[in-house]
């Protein structure tokens, strides 16, 4: 399969406010929210990104679309480096690269009817005229299960539940028939009984338009269901990457093990192998030396505390950044 998107050594640092003394001394501090990640997504592939809160998933997704300005690296979309594009070119390519935001409150204007929120971008991008846009919007509302669609068209975001707003956000992104979508926790607020049909719908888009997707989630069971391959992030780095099922059934990195082990499961009333991490995720301004997990990892040795492990291919297509792998 040809690559739709290739991300090379992407870095996004945010400056943190420091006290006046430090700034006089010219000291600068950064949150290294994304600190040199690389991966590629094939055409028609759903690529999962999992990890704990604050590990940099959203920042990675937004950086790829340049909704935040990356500090360095390359993002090759369909042969073009998105990070090198000028304003106008970026605007044009945006139709093909959409995002479904984690927080649908923030992404929907409170004063715009949700039907218009879906129709508007179609008009802006010159895809449809007013009447056609309305029709497409109605069709999309129906597909995401907001029926009767005529009634929902005229509702405002505050008249919807969190899960319903997420469905609007999905409808809006998909109406543009993009080639690539960043789906940031796109189904997290949708009730389970409905979630399965929304995931099915995403599958349909993938099939029908050969859509590629960066699927960000904290729910590993959902990643297993929908993502072909998955990367695990910890403190701005990818620690493991591979075929989703393989990665979940045979995690190699201690962090992945802990994550998979902690995920609740109906079929696992008896817990399997326990990997417990000490303490909590450290501050991203001052990550530990060497391996970033070394201060929490039960297996850490001297080398882990001094040398940063590289992401190495340990089996075909399965990459791990751990000295002990």
């Amino acid at each position: 399969m040809p690559e739709m998107l290739e991300v090379r050594n992407l870095k996004t640092y945010f400056p943190v406010r420091v006290g006046i003394l430090d700034s006089l001394r010219g000291k600068k501090y950064f949150v290294k929210a994304v600190d040199g990640i690389s991966f590629s997504i094939d055409r028609g592939e759903i690529f999962g990104l999992i990890g704990e809160s604050g590990c940099g998933k959203t920042t990675a997704g937004r950086s790829v679309l340049r909704l935040v300005e990356p500090t360095g690296g390359e993002v090759i979309f369909d042969g073009v480096d998105v990070l090198k594009l000028g304003k106008e070119e970026l605007r044009r390519i945006r139709r093909r690269m959409q995002i479904i935001f984690q927080d649908p409150y923030a992404s929907l204007s409170p004063r715009m009817k949700i039907g218009e929120a879906i129709a508007h971008p179609l008009i802006i991008h010159g895809i449809a005229d007013r009447r056609e846009a309305r029709e497409i919007a109605l069709r999309m509302l129906k597909r995401v299960g907001l029926t009767p669609e005529e009634e929902y068209y005229d509702r405002y975001p505050n008249q919807l539940s969190g899960g319903q707003r997420q469905r609007v956000a999905i409808a809006r992104a998909m109406a543009l028939k993009p080639d690539f979508v960043v789906a940031d926790e796109a189904v997290s607020m949708i009730d389970v009984s409905m979630r399965a049909s929304i995931l099915e719908l995403l599958e349909e888009f993938r099939r029908d338009y050969r859509l590629s997707m960066l699927f960000i989630t904290h729910d590993i069971a959902v990643a297993r269901l929908i993502a072909d391959r998955t990367a695990v992030m910890y403190l701005g780095k990818i620690v493991e990457l591979g075929k989703t099922r393989r990665l979940i059934d045979n995690p190699i990195h201690p962090y992945t093990k802990a994550l998979v082990n902690a995920a609740p499961s109906i079929t696992r009333r008896e817990r399997r192998e326990k990997v417990k991490l000490r303490g909590e995720v450290p501050n991203a301004v001052n990550p530990p030396k060497g391996c970033r997990l070394s201060n929490r990892c039960p297996f850490a040795t001297d080398i882990c505390r001094t040398k940063e492990p590289e992401l190495r291919e340990v089996e075909s297509g399965h990459f791990v950044a751990c000295h002990l792998a």
Partner: protein
């Protein structure tokens, strides 16, 4: 230990009466982990709040009995209730800041929770240190303010406060929903330890996997009613209500390649719930009686209760 009979709670809103909880009966035994599971709006939180006498206006308990250790809480004065809260029955919330004061050190808050109930200051301080350690937080954090702690730490502290006086019943309403799985796991372990020490847990969650992994017994709620109730193992193996069957089929599983199926339709508006069985508009097996007559929650097998006309 806790017996609830025919609990009914309505919200009297300006746009109509929301029948949030209707005719809910269950009991929680000593050292038992009892879970309410259901989708958003099914009435779980309302049940939890009713148990501790904190249904927010315009909500009102309009019927039923809540009997804790032989006494009906619904017949108690606010003063009596206050003396019981924290001491016999206690609650942790989804957002720990619901019960923590942002402006006061957590140590002081822990101590006060005990001195309020007549424990002397010095003893309370010693106990607070032990409690912090029991929830895996170093004692020097006594002097921290809530905002200096992570969400997981705050939740552990609110559990420590809620259990300071060793209540026999701890109600936990989605205590891990805002937290990551690794932190969630630690909180669940903590609750389990409390249970092992003798506390009964009434747990509320929308997370079906979490509910079934941890609980002894489960009540499945749909649109304000319990539709099925029994041992967690039994319900997984032998689900009978079409809603529970469909719900179990809709949940993806992290350790298997099971297929998932959505449940068509939407839950009803509780201002105007469907006549008969509240699930009938979404039920593929609904017959005439389902559309007209409300099914009772019946014990169909030993300790396995179902509210469905189709289950014989």
């Amino acid at each position: 230990m806790l017996e609830v009979e025919n609990l009914t709670v309505h919200y009297f809103t300006s746009v109509g009466i929301v029948r949030a909880v209707e005719d809910v009966s269950f009991s929680v035994g000593r050292r038992e982990w009892f879970t309410f599971v259901g989708e958003s709006g099914s009435g779980k939180s309302t049940v939890a709040q009713a148990l501790i006498g904190l249904v927010p206006p315009p909500g009102k308990v309009v019927g039923g009995k809540i009997v804790l250790n032989g006494r009906n809480l619904l017949e108690m004065s606010e003063k009596e209730l206050r003396s019981i809260r924290g001491k016999e029955i206690s609650m942790v919330f989804q957002d720990p800041m619901t019960s923590l004061d942002p402006l006061r050190k957590i140590g002081d808050q822990m101590v006060e929770a005990m001195t309020e109930h007549g424990i002397d200051e010095e003893e309370a301080r010693e106990k607070a240190v032990r409690l912090l350690e029991s929830v895996n937080i170093p004692a020097d954090r006594m002097d921290y303010y809530p905002h200096q702690l992570s969400g997981g730490q705050r939740q552990r502290i609110s559990i420590a406060i809620a259990t300071a006086l060793e209540p026999c019943l701890l109600i936990a309403d989605e205590p891990t929903t805002a937290l990551d799985v690794i932190v969630q796991e630690a909180i669940m372990e903590l609750l389990n330890e409390l249970k092992e020490k003798g506390t009964s847990i009434t747990f509320v969650t929308h997370d079906v996997s979490l509910a079934f992994e941890r609980s002894d017994r489960i009540a499945v709620m749909y649109a304000g009613r319990i539709v099925e109730m029994g041992d967690a193992d039994e319900l997984v193996r032998n689900a009978m209500h079409p809603y529970l069957k469909a719900l179990l089929e809709s949940v993806p599983d992290v350790c298997s390649d099971k297929e998932v199926k959505a449940i068509p339709g939407n839950p009803p508006d509780l201002r105007n719930p469907p006549k008969g069985c509240r699930f009938h508009p979404r039920c593929p097996f609904a017959t005439d009686i389902c559309r007209t007559q409300e099914p009772e929650l019946r014990e169909v097998e030993n300790n396995h209760f179902v509210a469905c006309h189709g289950v014989v």
